[in-house]
């Protein structure tokens, strides 16, 4: 896979990035790739992984009220 053709992991949406990561794992596990290709894919996979994990860690839910006004604060779930 050509690095130039792939969008940067940070610019991809979560679902697309996850799907690409899954396909990379499957390709690597298939063991049919050339060694150089394996390394390239691995690097791409790690980049996607870091981006995905970062997104999950930093996620702050944004709530926009289009109609009406929300009453009360959203409280955290009791653990």
């Amino acid at each position: 896979m050509d690095e130039a053709v792939c969008p940067a992991p940070g610019e991809m949406n979560f679902g697309d990035a996850l799907a690409e990561l899954e396909s990379i794992v499957a390709a690597l596990e298939g063991g049919q790739l050339e060694l150089e290709e394996s390394l390239t894919r691995y690097q791409r996979g790690v980049a996607l992984l870091q981006s995905l994990q970062g997104k999950l860690e930093d996620a702050q839910q944004k709530v926009t009220a289009l109609i009406g006004e929300l009453e009360g604060e959203v409280v955290e779930a009791e653990a």
Binding site: G68, E69, E76
Partner: protein, 447 residues
Amino acid sequence: MAEERAVSVSEAMARARTALEGVRLKVVGEVSEFADKAGYRAAYFTVSDGDAAMQCLMWREQYEASGVTLRCGMLVEMGGHFSTYAAKGRMQFVVRSLTLAGEGRLRLQVAELARRLEAEGLMRPERKRPLPAYPERIGVVTSPRGKAVHDVLRTLKRRYPLAEIVLAGVPVEGAEAPAAIAAGLSAVADAGSDVVLLVRGGGSYEDLMPFNDEGVARAVAACPVPVVTGIGHEPDTSIADMVADVRASTPTAAAESAAPSMDELSAALIKTRRLLGRALQHRVQAAAHRVALLVRRPVFTDYTVLVAPAAQALDQVALSLRRALPDRLETDRDRLARSAADMQRLGPRLAEPAAQRVGHLSRDLERAGALLLERAEEAVTHTAARLHDLSPVAVLGRGYALCRAADGTTVITSAAQVATGDRVSVVLGRGRLGCVVESTEEEVVNG
């Protein structure tokens, strides 16, 4: 008293009947007993309000026309009049019209709408769309007040804070609710939601009526993205539930079905990281193993193996060469010189007899050729004469004749082959006769 005269029971009942039949009423009550047996000409049932009860009958034709299927506990509104059943001395209410009252009436209307929308195909399983696995924007249509909206927001925050939420806070009860819900659905869809949650908490059956509204049902069906309902009113199913892509039992369940769990995702990513590392490690190990196998091959461990046979052969040749070269060179030089001298001497002498011999041979050849030709000509002439003697034409020339059947091909060799009157063709030494057989004789004395 003028009316002191005693009357018969029948007459008493007839008078009661006359008095009662003028009482025409509309009555609301709950069905407490119901008997509808095949063969009865009327449906018999009892309607009560807890303090009083009345026995009712409705003639079958009218009962079936009402479209109501009576069940105990049903709230009904009846129109009709009282009458009597003289044989048992009973008073009864003769029902002329029957409809469901209150919630029963609503349920009937809802069931009717459900039937209609189902017939249109709005509830078909193939219309149900799958939910996006990782929605980026989730629309929520519900009341901005109360437990439902907070259940949804809390669940989404816990499970999938990655998604943005667009909320349409709309009234979910009352006359204006259906239009507001439909507007809310379209607003969150227009805002780019990947999935829409339409939720509210439980309530009475009548409170849920906006979710049984035809306009709401059509707005759900027309929504460009999947709709998940979470209308907490088990065991009732609203029409919005039936038309939605996914029906969850509560607002929280709706939120859970629409968003993946971040904890599960994190765990999955950690697992993926391990898999990724392991897969690459395997790939590299496989490559390393192949290299290691190659490195251990003798060609790489001992280069002499590669050149040994060639080196040995070279040594051998060098040895023979060294041994043979000086002697042979001397001998060969002498032999060559002698040969050259011999050649010069013998050359002309060798050629002379050969030329003579060639001359002889060519003359012999010419003679032999001419002789051969002569003999061949003689043989041909002789053979031609033999051939002529053997020819049937030559035989015919000597006075014999050839008799053929009328077909011109079959040769007649026996009198038995023809009958009197047959046409035959007789070939002579010169010319042909067309003959008719006059008689046949099997045996002829040779003469």
